[in-house]
């Protein structure tokens, strides 16, 4: 047997987590990216910096603050307790929230770049053809930014699958509940189960390669000839 039932359950959990996080990130990231791509506000830079922060921050630092915030004494923890949800650390929900924050820049940046590359013109054209701003967003902006959305989805998914530090800090290592593949690999190595570790690590390696292949398929590195 190459993979134990335990391994399979971590894989299933990891895929569930990454799928859910990707969907939520596209929903949350799109308005942020839209605003960042089009605003002249003085808040643009500080907000950009906050959104990008998880990219440069050590995951343990992010995890640490999330743990504190969501803990019994933290502001988020108090709120969730008051709402009767209980505490989020060491739950799947807590893991989802932490993953969203951790992968946010990977979703926002490609979408923002796609909106910026599109420019103002297609939306102006849509307006002169009687499309309301909301109509133009769905019928012009979203289709034109499609490559950005594909990149954002793939990168968010892959990045969530690969996270380790944040998961360990906020989710711990509860089998079937918060134990993901990267943590499982760590456990295998700790326990000197190198063969098991190989199968999981190798699987992630192939997976990551395929992900990048998909990204480059939809976003050829040579920019497509623009049809104006």
């Amino acid at each position: 047997m190459m993979l134990s039932p335990d391994d399979w359950s971590t894989i299933r959990l990891t895929l569930e987590l990454a799928g859910l996080v990707t969907v939520l990130l596209l929903l949350i990231g799109t308005p942020i990216a839209w605003w960042l791509a089009r605003t002249d506000s003085a808040l643009k830079r500080p907000i950009s910096a906050i959104v990008t922060l998880p990219m440069v921050l050590p995951p343990t630092v992010l995890g640490f603050y999330l743990l504190v915030a969501m803990g019994p004494q933290g502001p988020v923890g108090r709120l969730t307790q008051a709402l009767g949800i209980g505490l989020l650390p060491f739950t799947f929900a807590g893991l989802v929230i932490a993953s969203i924050l951790y992968s946010l820049p990977f979703a926002v940046q490609p979408i923002q770049q796609a909106f910026e590359a599109m420019g103002e013109r297609p939306l102006e054209v849509a307006a002169t053809l009687r499309a309301s701003p909301l109509d133009a967003f769905f019928t012009v902006a979203l289709p034109l930014a499609r490559p950005g959305f594909i990149t954002a989805a793939v990168m968010s998914f892959a990045h969530t699958i690969g996270e380790f530090g944040v998961v360990l800090m906020i989710g711990g290592n509860i089998p079937g509940k918060t134990r993901v593949v990267s943590v499982q690999i760590y456990d295998h190595v700790e326990a000197l189960e190198f063969t098991q570790g190989h199968w999981l690590a190798g699987g992630l390696l192939v997976f990551s390669f395929c992900v990048l292949l998909v990204v480059y398929h939809f976003n050829p590195m040579a920019p497509r000839k623009a049809a104006n």
Binding site: R121, P122, E124, V125, A126, A127, T128, L129, R130, A131, S132, P133, D135, A136, T139, V140, P143, L144, R146, K225, A226, A227, N228
Partner: protein
């Protein structure tokens, strides 16, 4: 019916001096009105203000009795019954030609606008064979024709065109101009046409607004405007009069056609335009000379009696522009100041006008 437009705005640009637009115009709500001027004179800004793409606080705009903007009121762009053709065709790359045409057509029908016959427009612009293609597979001229059709299918009450030919090469321009002429002659939609090309203006416009440094320095019917001597339009070699005329006769032996205008007729090379067709001809100032006595033994075929109406400066200090009235029409003649002095040219003087060459604008 007319279009009233008053706008004033200052762009907070880093470039100094800051660009300011300040216009108060009353334009006819029919035919093609050309907004003409050098780049940076505010033509495009004015067009964008009228479309509502540029949101100006101090603006007032009434189109055919319908208020689009006044103090405290701004009709959003998508609620304005306008068509806009940009300098670059700006077709939606994710839609086919048909998809692009339908985009505005469907939305204007939602607003209970009577749809126009799509086949007519498609045929008018000669794009019937392109409907299933994506924009990336069209030539520049084809794209611009699709963009014009797309704007027309949104059933505009006002068509705004921002240098629709400027991004095209000479051949593509020649390909599109006839379509624009048909548009002017067959559709009853007023057009505001931004251009800095004297040729296009002379050929297409009925009314001319001259822009300079963000202001409209003159506005009036084209024929009258082109023969004004006091305008800061730098037409240079292109200074000349236009005449709306009809083809009156053909001389098959000599391959010549006679065009008749209100107060005379001119011979020009026969371009195969049928007798009875309305044509627009242009007589450049440099092709017109003046004589005190009726010239005999001249190689020039077109000799008309006229009266000096006004004398003005030309760009070069050696030259002078003389406006001569021929019946109801006005022609411009460019003379050197020395020959004007030798002839003793004076306002009110009657003399003979020799026209060396007449261009058919088509």
């Amino acid at each position: 019916m007319s279009i009233e437009a008053r706008f004033s705005l200052t762009y907070p640009t880093s470039a100094s001096p800051a660009f300011a637009l300040d216009v108060d115009l009353q334009l006819p709500a029919q035919g093609i009105t050309a907004l003409f001027g050098p780049s940076g004179s505010g033509k495009t800004s004015l067009l964008r203000c009228i479309a509502g793409l540029e949101k100006v606080k101090t603006g007032h705009l009434v189109v055919n009795g319908e208020c689009w903007q006044k103090a405290g009121f701004f009709l959003p762009v998508h609620r304005r019954a306008l068509g806009y053709v940009f300098q670059e065709a700006s077709l939606f790359p994710h839609l086919t030609v048909q998809g692009n045409l339908d985009y505005g057509a469907i939305r204007s029908q939602r607003h209970q606008v009577t749809p126009v016959d799509q086949r007519n427009i498609v045929e008018l612009l000669g794009i019937g064979h392109l409907l299933l293609r994506k924009p990336e597979r069209l030539s520049g001229g084809e794209r611009q024709r699709v963009a014009i059709a797309r704007a027309l299918l949104a059933v505009p009450k006002l068509l705004l065109m921002d240098e629709p030919l400027a991004a095209l090469d000479f051949e593509r321009k020649r390909e599109i101009l006839p379509y624009l002429e048909r548009l002017r002659d067959e559709l009853a939609i007023p057009v505001l046409y931004v251009s800095h090309a004297p040729d296009e203006v002379a050929r297409l416009a009925d009314h001319l607004v001259v822009m300079k440094d963000g202001r409209a320095v003159a506005s009036g019917p084209l024929a009258e405007m082109l023969t004004r001597l006091d305008l800061p339009i730098r037409l240079g070699e292109d200074a000349g009069a236009i005449l709306d005329a009809t083809v009156g006769a053909m001389d098959a032996d000599w391959h010549l056609a006679r065009v008749d205008f209100a107060s005379g007729s001119l011979w020009l090379a026969d371009h195969g335009v049928a007798v009875g067709s309305p044509v627009r001809v242009r007589v450049l100032a440099r092709d017109v000379s003046l004589a005190r006595e009726q010239p005999g033994g001249s190689s020039i075929q077109n000799i008309l009696p006229g009266r000096v109406d006004a004398i003005g400066h030309d760009e070069h200090p050696s030259a002078t522009l003389v406006r001569v009235q021929v019946g109801q029409a006005m022609l411009l003649a460019r003379l050197t100041r020395r020959s004007a002095a030798a002839l003793g040219i004076a306002v009110g003087q009657t003399l003979w006008v020799q026209v060396k060459s007449v261009a058919l604008l088509e």
